[in-house]
C-alpha cells in the first residue's frame, strides 16, 4: 500500500483570517441578541440594585453578529481532528463510535429540559432510567450497589477512596496509605493525595504483571486500599488477581478497580468476582458518551455490600409500591460530591447503549475490542514495525497494547513523539504517547471494537511507511506534522510566559 509523503497536503480549508479570535472580530455595536420585550412596569435600576453593587464598566464580551459567530466556530471546528472523521487509537481512552441515536434521545425535552429539583413524582421516567442504569452497571461489574453521582473517572476515584476512608473509620481505624502500581493512570496517585492519604507505589514484574512480592511487602495494616486497573494500563490482564485480592483483604484493606479499561471484559469476567470492593466506570469510555474535546463524562461507582452504607447521597431507589425516588436519608453516607443527581444527559446515552447492545452485544463488544487489538498487534508485526517498535510485553494483549519506541530512537533516529506527529500527516490520530511511564518511549494503542479490519490494516501500513521513510530521512518525521492547521507548537514557551486570555 502506498502512502503519500507530500510535505503539504492541507486537510482543512485555510483562510487569511484564521488567526482571529472571536474577540478580534468584535466591533462596537454589533450584536446577535435581541432581548425579549420588557412586559412589566420599568422601575429605576438604582431602586432595585444600588449603584454601589453594580459594575462601573461592562464585561468586555465580543460584539459580533450571528453569522459571524456561526462562521467563526464552524471554521474553528475544521481545525479539530475528530472520531467521526478518522481513526483515533488513543490508548486508555476507548475512542469507540458514539451512536447518533443517543444524541437524539438525550435531546428529547423530557430529558433535556427536566429541572433537577423537579419533584420525584414528576420525574419518574428519569429516576427509572437512572435506577435501571444502576442495575445494569451493578450486573456488569458484579458489585450490586451503584451511585451514578461522580462526574468523571477521577471524581469516581475520589468517591471510592473517600468510601474506603469511611469504611475504615466505621471500624475505628485510621489508615494512612494507599497503594497503586507504577503503571497507574496519573489520576490514581493524584486522587490518593486529594483524599488525604500517602501514596505507596508497587512495582511491575518482568512479565508486566503487578510484582506480587513487592505487594506482599508493602501490604501492612496501615494500608487503606489498593487501586488497580485490570486489564492494566499495559493492556494485560493480571492472572494473579485472586491472590492479589487475598493479600489486600488479609490486611483489612479494600481493593479498588479503576474502570478505565472495562471495555476489555464486559460480560467475560467481573471485578466483583475478582474480589474488588469498589469500581468506577467511565461512561465516556466503555459506554459511548462522546468525549466532547475534554468532557463531559460521568464516573459512576459500584460497591460491595460492606461499602454500601457509605455511598454518596442522594441514592436513586425503587420504593415498595414500584415508584422511584431519591433517598436522602443515608446517615452513614460520605455526603455529596456535587450538585443534584450527576450528569444525567450522559446516563441517557449510556443506558441507550446498554439497551441497544444487551447482554450478548456487550460481551461481543469486548471480544471484538480484544480481537482488534491483537489483530493490529499481529499486523504491525507482519509489517515489520515491531522490529523497531517492539511490544513492551510480548504476549497476548487485551483491548490495548504498548509498544516501546526505544529501539526506533536508536536505530532510526526518531522518537515516539516524531512518529506520532508524522501520523497526523496521514489523517490518523496518534496513539497515547509516553504512557505508561515504565515503558521507554511508550506508545499505547487501543483500536476499539468499532473499527474495521481494513482500518487496522491501513494503520499498520501507515506506521510501517513512516518507519521506512525515517530510515531514509529521519528529518521528515522530526519536522512533522506539515499538513495540519499549525505545525509543532512552542509548549515550553507557553508555560514560561503564559498567555491565558485575550489582552485588550
Amino acid at each position: 500500500m502506498s502512502v503519500t509523503t507530500d510535505r503539504r497536503s492541507p486537510w482543512f480549508i485555510a483562510a487569511a483570517d484564521d488567526d482571529l479570535t472571536i474577540f478580534d472580530r468584535s466591533r462596537p455595536g454589533r450584536r446577535a441578541f435581541t432581548a425579549p420585550t420588557l412586559d412589566v412596569p420599568e422601575r429605576p435600576l438604582d431602586e432595585l440594585i444600588p449603584a454601589a453593587l453594580r459594575r462601573a464598566t461592562p464585561a468586555r464580551l465580543p460584539e459580533v453578529s450571528e453569522p459571524e459567530i456561526v462562521r467563526h466556530y464552524n471554521r474553528l471546528s475544521k481545525r479539530n481532528f475528530d472520531l467521526d472523521t478518522g481513526f483515533y487509537p488513543l490508548g486508555s481512552c476507548t475512542m469507540k463510535h458514539n451512536p447518533k441515536l443517543h444524541e437524539r434521545i438525550a435531546a428529547l425535552p423530557g430529558h433535556a429540559r427536566l429541572h433537577p429539583l423537579q419533584r420525584p413524582a414528576a420525574a419518574q421516567g428519569a429516576l427509572e432510567l437512572m435506577w435501571s442504569l444502576q442495575q445494569a452497571l451493578g450486573e456488569i461489574s458484579g458489585l450490586p450497589h451503584v451511585s451514578l453521582q461522580p462526574s468523571a473517572g477521577s471524581h469516581g476515584e475520589l468517591a471510592g477512596v473517600l468510601l474506603t476512608r469511611a469504611f475504615h473509620e466505621a471500624h475505628g481505624q485510621q489508615r494512612t496509605k494507599v497503594l497503586t502500581p507504577d503503571t497507574a493512570h496519573g489520576t490514581n496517585p493524584a486522587t490518593v493525595t486529594m483524599a488525604g492519604y500517602d501514596l505507596v507505589k508497587i512495582g511491575t514484574d518482568a512479565a508486566g504483571n503487578i510484582d506480587v512480592a513487592d505487594l506482599r511487602e508493602k501490604a501492612t495494616d496501615e494500608v487503606a486500599c489498593l487501586m488497580l486497573t485490570n486489564p492494566s494500563t499495559l493492556g494485560l490482564f493480571e492472572p494473579q488477581i485472586k491472590e492479589i485480592a487475598q493479600i489486600v483483604h488479609d490486611v483489612g484493606a479494600t481493593l479498588y478497580y479503576d474502570g478505565a479499561n472495562l471495555n476489555a471484559i464486559m460480560g467475560i469476567c467481573r471485578p466483583g468476582d475478582m474480589g474488588f470492593d469498589i469500581v468506577h466506570f467511565n461512561l465516556h469510555k466503555s459506554f459511548t458518551q462522546p468525549h466532547g474535546g475534554g468532557g463531559p463524562g460521568a464516573g459512576p461507582i459500584a460497591v460491595s455490600d460492606r461499602i454500601e452504607p457509605f455511598l454518596p447521597r442522594p441514592q436513586v431507589v425503587r420504593r415498595e409500591d414500584g415508584s422511584f425516588d431519591l433517598d436522602h436519608d443515608r446517615p452513614r453516607s460520605i455526603g455529596r460530591l456535587r450538585g443534584f443527581q450527576g450528569n444525567f444527559g450522559v446516563f441517557v446515552r449510556s443506558y441507550a447503549y446498554i439497551r441497544s447492545l444487551g447482554a450478548g452485544g456487550l460481551r461481543e463488544a469486548s471480544e471484538v475490542a480484544v480481537l482488534n487489538a491483537n489483530y493490529l498487534l499481529a499486523r504491525l508485526r507482519e509489517e515489520g514495525v515491531l522490529e523497531h517498535l517492539p511490544a513492551a510485553y510480548p504476549r497476548l494483549c487485551m483491548h490495548e497494547f504498548v509498544l516501546s519506541g526505544a529501539p526506533m530512537k536508536h536505530e532510526l533516529g526518531i522518537r515516539t513523539l516524531d512518529l506520532a506527529k508524522r501520523l497526523l500527516d496521514h489523517g490518523v490520530h496518534p496513539p497515547t504517547v509516553y504512557f505508561p511511564l515504565i515503558v521507554e518511549e511508550a506508545l499505547l494503542i487501543e483500536p476499539t471494537e468499532t473499527e474495521t479490519r481494513e482500518t487496522l490494516d491501513r494503520f499498520a501500513a501507515i506506521v510501517a511507511d513512516v518507519l521506512r521513510e525515517a530510515a531514509d530521512d529521519p528529518e521528515i518525521a522530526r519536522g512533522a506534522p506539515y499538513s495540519t492547521p499549525v505545525r509543532r507548537l512552542d509548549e515550553a514557551g507557553a508555560a514560561r510566559q503564559p498567555v491565558l486570555r485575550e489582552q485588550f
Partner: protein, 424 residues
C-alpha cells in the same frame, strides 16, 4: 483475523483470565434491540417526566430554565467538537483549544480575575475544588462558609474536607445576607456566594477585608448572568471565583452535564486545577494554542498534582462561550436588567397577596424567597394542578421563586392568581 493473531478462537484471547473468574452465563440484562425500539422505549421514559415545556416553572435554586439559542445547538453538535478527546495533540486540536482560550477570556472578564481554567465539572464541586486550592495554598485547618452558598456546594466541600481533616464552619444568614464572619489565623478560606442561595446580592467587600486581614483567602461562588450587572467579585478582592455554568447556553438535563467555571488571581495560577489553554507560536511563527501549565496536572505530577481532574466539561464550556458571544457586551446587560425588572415585578406582585410575605428584603436579580406560613402544602398542590411549578421548597413555610427570561408577565400573573386561589 484469528489466524493472523495465531489463536484458534476468541476464547483463547482471554487465556490470562483465570478459568474460575470467567462468567459462565450471559449477563442478566435484556438482549439488545433495534435503533427504533430503543428510541421508542427511552422516549417513553422521557414522556413520564414533567419538563419545563410541560408546565410554567419557577424552579431555580442552582439551575434555571433559560433560553438556549439555536446556534448553540448547531455548533456543539458538530462532530468536530462533539467527538474528539482532550486535546493532547495540539496540531490537530486548534479549534477546541482556541475555543477554550476564548472561553477563559470571557470568564476572566465576568469574574474580574486574570486567570480562568478551561472548566471543571459543575458548580458545587467547583466550590470543593476551590477549597482544595486554599488548603494547598495556606495549609490552615478551617473553612468559614456562608449559608448563602448553595447547600450542595457546602456539602460537597464538607465531603472532601473530612479527608483533609479540616472543619467547615457555617455562618447563618441575617435577613438573607451574610453577616460579618469572625475570621482568625486558622481560617484557610471564607466562602460566599453572589447572588446567594436566597437570591440576595451580597456586599462582599467587607467580608474580603476581614478575611484578608487574617490572611485567609476568599472564595466566591457566583451566578454568571448577574455578573453582567454586578461588580465583578475579583474587582472586590475575591481570590477565587467559581460557579455553575448551566445558564450559559446549557440545558437543564436533570442536573447535568453542565460546567463549572474557575478563576483565580495571578498568584494562585500555578495551583489551579484542570486544563488551561495558552497561546503560543508554531515552528513557522503562526499563532497557535496548547494545553499549558501542565506541571500542575495529574498526568505529569501524579501524587503531587494540584487536583486529580482529567476529563472536565469542554463541550459545555464551548456552549458557554458561544452563548456569551451571542449575548454580547450589551446583550448580557440587557438580559440581566430584564431579569431584575421581571423579578421585581414578581416579588411585588406575590408580596401583595395576603398570606404571602417576603423572606428577606435584600436586593435580588432573578430569585427571591417568600414565606407562606402554614399554607405552603395547599399552595403547591393547587399550583401543580394548575400546570404551574411555583418554585423550590426551602422549608415547611418557605418557597424560593426563580424568574428567567422565559417567564413572562403573563406567567407571573398566573402564578400569583394560583397562589391567591389556593389561599382564598
Amino acid at each position: 483475523m484469528l489466524a493472523t493473531v495465531g489463536v484458534a478462537s476468541v476464547d483463547d484471547l482471554f487465556a490470562d483470565v483465570p478459568s474460575e473468574l470467567r462468567l459462565r452465563r450471559p449477563l442478566a440484562l435484556a438482549e439488545g434491540m433495534s435503533e427504533q425500539e430503543v428510541f421508542t422505549e427511552l422516549a417513553g421514559l422521557a414522556a413520564r417526566n414533567v419538563s419545563v415545556e410541560d408546565e410554567i416553572s419557577f424552579l431555580g435554586a442552582g439551575m434555571y430554565d433559560t433560553y438556549v439559542p439555536a446556534l448553540v445547538d448547531s455548533i456543539i453538535s458538530r462532530s468536530e467538537f462533539l467527538t474528539p478527546y482532550t486535546p493532547y495533540q495540539p496540531e490537530v486540536s486548534q479549534g477546541g483549544l482556541q475555543a477554550m482560550f476564548e472561553y477563559q477570556t470571557a470568564i476572566s472578564e465576568l469574574t474580574g480575575l486574570p486567570v480562568s481554567n478551561a472548566s471543571v465539572y459543575e458548580g458545587p464541586s467547583a466550590v470543593a475544588a476551590a477549597g482544595y486550592l486554599a488548603k494547598l495554598h495556606n495549609g490552615r485547618s478551617r473553612f468559614v462558609v456562608s449559608e448563602g452558598v448553595h447547600p450542595h456546594a457546602i456539602e460537597s466541600l464538607e465531603t472532601l474536607a473530612h479527608g483533609w481533616e479540616m472543619e467547615v464552619e457555617r455562618v447563618a444568614l441575617d435577613n438573607g445576607a451574610t453577616p460579618m464572619p469572625a475570621v482568625d489565623e486558622q481560617v484557610s478560606a471564607v466562602v460566599v456566594a453572589q447572588p446567594n442561595f436566597l437570591g440576595a446580592v451580597e456586599r462582599i467587600e467587607p467580608i474580603v477585608e476581614a478575611a484578608h486581614a487574617a490572611g485567609a483567602l476568599v472564595i466566591c461562588a457566583a451566578d454568571p448572568i448577574p455578573l453582567g450587572l454586578l461588580q465583578a467579585p475579583g474587582a472586590q478582592g475575591v481570590d477565587i471565583v467559581v460557579g455553575e455554568g448551566q445558564t450559559l447556553g446549557n440545558r437543564l438535563d436533570y442536573g447535568g452535564p453542565s460546567f463549572g467555571f474557575f478563576a483565580v488571581t495571578e498568584s494562585l495560577m500555578r495551583r489551579m486545577p484542570g486544563r488551561i489553554a495558552g497561546r503560543t507560536r508554531d515552528l513557522d511563527g503562526r499563532t497557535g494554542y496548547v494545553l499549558t501549565l501542565q506541571t500542575r496536572e495529574q498526568h505529569i505530577r501524579r501524587e503531587k498534582a494540584t487536583s486529580n481532574i482529567c476529563t472536565a466539561q469542554a463541550l459545555n464550556a464551548l456552549a458557554g462561550i458561544v452563548y456569551l458571544s451571542w449575548l454580547g457586551r450589551e446583550g448580557l446587560i440587557e438580559l440581566t436588567e430584564l431579569l431584575v425588572q421581571r423579578t421585581a415585578y414578581a416579588r411585588t406582585r406575590l408580596a401583595s397577596i395576603p398570606g404571602v410575605e417576603l423572606a428577606h428584603h435584600q436586593p435580588v436579580v432573578r430569585e427571591f424567597p417568600v414565606r407562606i406560613t402554614g399554607r405552603l402544602d395547599a399552595v403547591l398542590e393547587h399550583c401543580y394542578a394548575s400546570g404551574i411549578n411555583p418554585g423550590y421548597r426551602l422549608s415547611a413555610d418557605e418557597l424560593l421563586v426563580a424568574i428567567t427570561e422565559r417567564r413572562t408577565r403573563a406567567d407571573i400573573d398566573r402564578l400569583a392568581t394560583a397562589i391567591e386561589e389556593a389561599l382564598s
